[in-house]
């Protein structure tokens, strides 16, 4: 953590900041970690994480007082832009993206002092325990129970679709602490748990892309100390809703669109697709969809920087960019032609592009974090005011 206390990145000119980010990524991020077609594991990104940590760049959006870079919306876009242009790997960042902002906003001083530094060092690697077999889009129906016994919560139940749970040490989860609450949204609490204990079992689920990306997690009298509750007991749903706006800003960030577009461009150049006027028009349309989304993203990111709470309209970002990224990945398959169903990286000039990897990666984005259909329901009622 060398730079952040002395450097005010927001005061730099856009050009200087872009230069600094680009130079750092270009010189420091190893080539084998660029454009990785699958989610990274800790073993793969450990050394790269250390470099980011030494530079103070693990948490670009966190306030500086907690060890973040404190970037405003415009600088954030430049950071993402350079990251994606070079295909810089996404690290084991659930702690930085989800648990950190939760603890910063709702945690006690003790929780901040204990957990935040461990997130930055990746001493603790986090996964998110939300969905259950009977609670997907209808998340508030969750049933995993946490009953207080002395100073400990005893947890029983099951989570599913838990991304990278097999490579995580800790889980932040929504649990039902009061099974008798009158409404399903009540009696839910936010609990932090160490997964390294006999009561926790992780079973990975193979994806359509034949990868171990998500898991089922079983809790059988698993335990967590009482002080691991974030916020008030029984107030977990409100916290989750507040956290969802961070999540929707993150999963609506331009990264996935920019990354897919860069790879489409590499593939298209190598395959001569830019000679085809029809391809040119479709490419231009998608590139503009990504670029104009960036402007909308910056508007929301600046709202966060000003300390404003994001409204339900932030879901627009996720809907737009995930569907755009899917279209880009579909166009990639068309450009690949007869190689369109070939697994693994295709070589394109001096580069490689994993066409199917991109296609598969784009599929779950319209399902996770609240499916795009659920997001549209929310926008229709909460933003447009349409009747139910």
């Amino acid at each position: 953590m060398t730079n952040n206390t002395t450097t005010d990145y927001n005061a730099m000119s856009d050009e200087d900041f872009r230069d600094e980010v680009r130079t750092f990524f270009e010189t420091e991020c190893p080539h084998e970690l660029r454009h990785l077609p699958h989610r990274s594991t800790w073993a793969e990104v450990k050394d790269w994480h250390q470099k980011l940590y030494d530079k103070g760049w693990v948490a670009p959006a966190w306030p500086k007082e907690y060890g973040g870079m404190g970037l405003d919306g415009a600088k954030m876009l430049i950071f993402f832009d350079e990251q994606q242009r070079l295909g810089v790997v996404r690290g084991r960042d659930m702690g930085v993206i989800m648990s950190g902002p939760l603890i910063i906003k709702y945690g006690t001083q003790e929780q901040k002092d204990y957990w935040l530094p461990r997130i930055l060092t990746c001493e603790d690697i986090w996964c998110q325990g939300y969905s259950e077999p009977g609670a997907g889009s209808d998340l508030a129906s969750l049933r995993t129970s946490a009953i207080l016994e002395g100073d400990e919560f005893v947890v029983n139940g099951q989570k599913i679709w838990t991304t990278m749970a097999h490579d995580a040490s800790h889980i932040f989860m929504l649990v039902r602490t009061d099974p008798n609450a009158p409404r399903k949204q009540q009696g839910i609490s936010f609990l932090l748990m160490d997964m390294d204990q006999p009561g926790v079992t992780v079973r990975t689920i193979k994806t359509l892309a034949d990868e171990d990306e998500f898991s089922e997690v079983f809790f059988d009298d698993a335990r967590a100390p009482r002080e691991n509750i974030v916020g008030e007991i029984g107030e977990g749903w409100n916290l989750a809703k507040a956290l969802l706006s961070f999540e929707r800003l993150f999963i609506g960030s331009p990264n996935i669109g920019q990354n897919a577009l860069n790879q489409l461009e590499t593939l298209a150049r190598g395959r001569g697709a830019f000679d085809d006027p029809n391809f040119r028009d479709r490419f231009a349309r998608l590139a503009l969809d990504v670029e104009d989304h960036g402007a909308l993203y910056a508007r929301f990111a600046d709202q966060v920087k000003r300390g404003e709470t994001l409204g339900p309209d932030v879901s627009m970002l996720k809907i737009w960019i995930t569907e755009t990224a899917q279209e880009i990945s579909e166009l990639m398959i068309e450009v690949a032609g007869r190689d369109g169903a070939t697994l693994g990286a295709l070589s394109v000039g001096n580069h490689t592009v994993d066409v199917l990897g991109n296609f598969y990666k784009a599929r779950p984005t319209t399902i996770y974090g609240g499916s795009n259909e659920v997001q549209r329901n929310i926008l229709a009622k909460a933003v447009l005011g349409l009747p139910s």
């Binding site: 028009d281 503009l288 737009w320 549209r376 229709a380 933003v383 447009l384 349409l386 009747p387």
Partner: protein, 363 residues
């Protein structure tokens, strides 16, 4: 809110008040088929409020507020379906004159509302290479045919781009001069584009040097960005009317806005509008901050491509959601589709501008 933001908000409010009072949809209906095109009383009011001089520099007698201020005004013209030629006169004519002949009395007459110019710059035969003119100027006389001239019917003067022995030039013609014939093509919104033919028409030379081509490009880019903002205003109001309709129109015993398929489509219209709003405004901010012609041209195309696509999607969907009444002339929602069609085609539609954008971006 910064001082500039506050200034722009006040400007928006005053334009909105003036245009609302002039009479939104009713005035748009009355203007249809009116070959003179311009309501001089409203035009003079706009001039008195400084709206016609908003982009002209202070040195040349204007307010010098830049393209973003012009965009805010254009958006209000779109919202109220105002038929007045703001973008062609302020973006094209005043912009061209200021760049080539800032001291010419005509600039003053334009921004004070006393004279309304028509700009004759494109030719059907060289649509892909503007400035490659077959219309010629020689010893005080113009000969040739210009296409897609907006507002020629009600104009006092024509500003004509033509070729001479020394290159491309800008020439001034009195609208009543000898040898002018016009062929009017009625547009979807009831306005007209003209094909104007000049035969031995007397003309005054305004500028004739290598700057003419650059000044024309710059003014066309400004007007393109203003047209994008006008489309944004049209789309925004069509969206508002449609959401309101979904809340009130009842079928099967409940408001049709309760149906999920319509809710989802309304959300997609809303997202298209928000993406357009922030994208187009970001383009105008970049244009105001850059003098590099390539960047300005690229951003103008980005804005118009987005505006054309979003406004046509929103206004088409608006018709569908209104059902049969949406297809009647009696109902106002169709006026928005018809204005969007006209503005989309003028200065190039989304396909044209995507093509240009990609070329300027490099690919």
């Amino acid at each position: 809110m910064t001082e500039t933001e506050e200034d722009l908000r006040l400007l928006r409010d005053s334009v909105a008040t003036l245009l609302d009072r002039a009479g939104g949809e009713k005035r748009a209906r009355e203007a249809r088929g009116n070959r003179d095109g311009v309501n001089r009383a409203v035009w003079n009011e706009l001039a008195e409020a400084g709206i016609l001089s908003v982009m002209t520099s202070e040195d040349a007698g204007g307010l010098g507020l830049g393209l973003q201020a012009g965009g805010i005004i254009a958006q209000e013209f779109g919202r109220t379906l105002a038929p007045d030629p703001f973008a062609p006169v302020v973006g094209l004519a005043a912009g061209l004159l200021e760049r080539l002949a800032p001291g010419h009395t005509l600039l003053d007459e334009i921004i004070s509302g006393n004279k309304i110019p028509a700009i004759a710059w494109e030719e059907r035969k060289s649509a892909d290479a503007p400035g490659n003119n077959q219309t010629t100027y020689d010893t005080g006389k113009l000969n040739g045919t210009k296409s897609w001239v907006a507002r020629a019917g009600g104009a006092d003067v024509h500003l004509v781009i033509a070729s001479s022995n020394t290159g491309t030039g800008l020439y001034l013609v009195n609208a009543l001069a000898d040898g002018i014939t016009t062929k009017a093509a009625r547009q979807s919104d009831g306005s007209y584009l003209h094909e104007v033919t000049y035969v031995e028409t007397p003309a005054e030379l305004i500028a004739e040097d290598e700057n003419v081509k650059n000044a024309l490009d710059a003014a066309v880019n400004d007007a393109t960005a203003l047209a994008a903002c006008e489309l944004l205003g049209v789309a925004g109001e069509a969206l508002n009317l449609t959401i309101e309709f979904l809340k009130t129109r009842e079928q099967f015993g409940k408001p049709i806005g309760t149906f999920q398929s319509l809710q989802h489509r309304a959300v997609d219209m809303h997202i298209a509008h928000e993406i357009a709003d922030t994208g187009i405004k970001s383009s105008l901010a970049i244009m105001d901050a850059n003098s590099d012609p390539t960047i300005r041209a690229r951003e103008a195309s980005r804005a118009k491509a987005r505006a054309g696509e979003a406004a046509l999607k929103i206004t088409r969907e608006a018709i569908q959601m209104h059902g049969a009444v949406g297809y009647t002339d009696e109902f106002d929602i169709g006026l928005y589709l018809n204005r969007a069609l006209t503005l989309s085609a003028w200065l190039g539609d989304a396909t044209f501008h995507r093509k240009r954008w990609l070329k300027l971006r490099g690919a």
